[in-house]
Symmetry: C2
Subunit: 343 residues, 2 copies
């Protein structure tokens, strides 16, 4: 796992595209950026995987991180918006956890600077995991005797069970959730047969259309900015079209909702395009069901372009080549709940 | 896995108990009974594990078999009663799926003759997984292209995706959920140091008190009856004591609720006592939080006996020796949801 991986770069021109602007196609690194204050370790990752799957971090004991971001599938929940405790529906589509570590900020609006920060959010969100505060969540973990030795193994003897160590462990686990062996990655690394002819056409069209302006880089989520700095884009940039009405793309003010700054209205972090096959429906409100329709909407709302249907099909085929495979994982063994913890 | 396992029998007398009635202590077989019409296969088990963890078998796409019967922990959900779709609460405590294959019938009242029958129940229960009918659940599976090849691998080319094949696959997976290497099992197989002195005292007291009258056999759930025939016992047998009131043990009429036969009033299938450390709270209504209290209640309500506290502690220590270990499992890879399946 610690072998450094040299990112393969394949100039677009080598593909025979005569376009002036060469796109650097990058395979996904094996490891995402790792913050200096939260190094990876086997024990920490195992603890993080356990916490990630532990529904006792929710008020009802029924909702875990994995409930809405299932790593048994596309890292989300195949719903337009998620359902939290007491059957409550959230306001935005659950982003995939796969390759989330390649985002320089988290949540749709980039309001969390790190996976560590993000991990604390849903726990106390009243319509997600619904704990009254982080201290209550930590109290739960402290009351489960099996967690003590796991925190010690991850953070050293007599480690504190705290919101910070909990979040660090979850983030360390999430940094292992990388899908860098897709057909696209194999193609970029030199396997010219990994993509079909249509997918290769779609790859060229994806760049020529202008999609790479925002969806560049190895994770197709834009330039790798410094940790904590979101790569934000206005969506929709071109709001006067039928897609904006049909899919209610202006209903949610985007980053404005968390900052109240006028310049953040309808600003969104650019999401990864990896694993779209697994993450329907699409967009922040889960309003679009298919990849071809998402391609049409984006070309229109962001580039003011109407693509012909063969091009839509080609780009969609290319996007499908950014899928999986999801590495095998063992299930965690959750430590038992003492009876007196049960309400 | 197919090596036949000779059930170890250890006469109680060998432990030095002078009791007239020798108890045959049995280790758990590696394999539970396998019905002739549903043989195990690797492909079927993998399909079953996938279906077992697939929340798309619920109306909201949020509740899977594993939601209430988590194999990452004790095979249940550490709640008094489970929470299904739309936050609805069930009426009875979720029984553990671990070693459920050693029960000759399923559900608290034994109303399902097999694991196959049981698997169909919660899917259409309006307060559990909430599908309108089994046909709707099957339609969902048929609409997920990735399931076709998995059913073919499990049941042969062009296999039908039906409620029956779905249930057979889930049951085949559940028959792998066996915890036969507990401290107790190791003791019975000859490792005399596997139990502490207190646990050995508790083992003797468990038999001498009369617990084995119902909780006999390798799974501590009574005699291995023919498939489909539940081992039923009246609970509470002695209803005039404070425990019955405190824990509302007469509120639920037991098997009567499903048969409307007067002789079934307060009749219950005897549950396994394995993995109690992981399955608090206890009893059909999840009203009792600790193993010692469960021991006190059972001695009083079933045997009209008041145990002294050292005996309660000894029996509780013995029961803890019936726990785990839970075998390692890989997570299933759920096939993706086509966008047009999303409502």
């Amino acid at each position: 796992m610690r072998t450094p991986f040299r990112t393969a770069l394949l100039p677009l021109l080598a593909l025979g595209f005569g376009h002036a602007q060469a796109t650097e196609w990058q395979a996904l690194p094996e490891r995402p950026p790792i913050p200096a204050d939260n190094p990876q370790s086997r024990a920490k990752i195992e603890l993080g995987k356990t916490l990630y799957h532990d529904p006792r971090l929710s008020s009802t004991g029924t909702v875990s991180c994995a409930s809405c971001h299932s790593v048994m599938e596309g890292g989300d929940d195949h719903r337009p918006v998620s359902i939290g405790v007491h059957g409550q529906r959230g306001g935005r589509n659950a982003p995939t956890v796969w390759n989330a570590a390649f985002h320089s900020s988290q949540f749709w609006d980039g309001r969390a600077a790190s996976l560590e920060d993000q991990a604390k959010g849903p726990v106390t969100n009243p319509i997600e995991m619904g704990m009254p505060d982080l201290a209550s969540a930590v109290d739960r973990l402290r009351a489960i005797p099996g967690y003590g030795p796991m925190f010690d193994a991850a953070f050293g003897a007599n480690a504190e069970i705290s919101a910070d160590t909990m979040a660090k462990a979850i983030a360390a686990y999430e940094r292992t959730l990388v899908t860098g062996d897709s057909a696209y990655d194999r193609f970029v690394k030199g396997d010219s047969g990994a993509l079909s002819a249509q997918q290769k056409r779609g790859m060229a069209a994806f760049a020529a259309t202008g999609c790479t302006a925002c969806h560049g880089g190895a994770a197709f989520n834009g330039p790798q900015l410094e940790a904590g700095k979101p790569f934000l884009v206005k969506f929709p940039t071109y709001p006067k079209n039928e897609y904006v009405r049909r899919y209610r793309l202006l209903d949610d003010p985007g980053r404005f909702a968390s900052t109240s700054q006028e310049e953040d209205r309808h600003m969104w972090r650019v999401p990864t395009l990896r694993n779209l096959v697994y993450t329907a429906p699409y967009f922040h409100n889960g309003s679009v069901k298919s990849i071809p329709e998402a391609v049409r909407v984006m070309a229109t709302t962001q580039l003011d372009r109407r693509l012909d249907e063969p091009t839509v099909a080609d780009i969609s085929a290319f996007l499908e080549a950014l899928s999986g495979p999801f590495p095998d994982q063992t299930m965690p063994h959750l430590p038992p709940t003492p009876g007196d913890l049960i309400e």
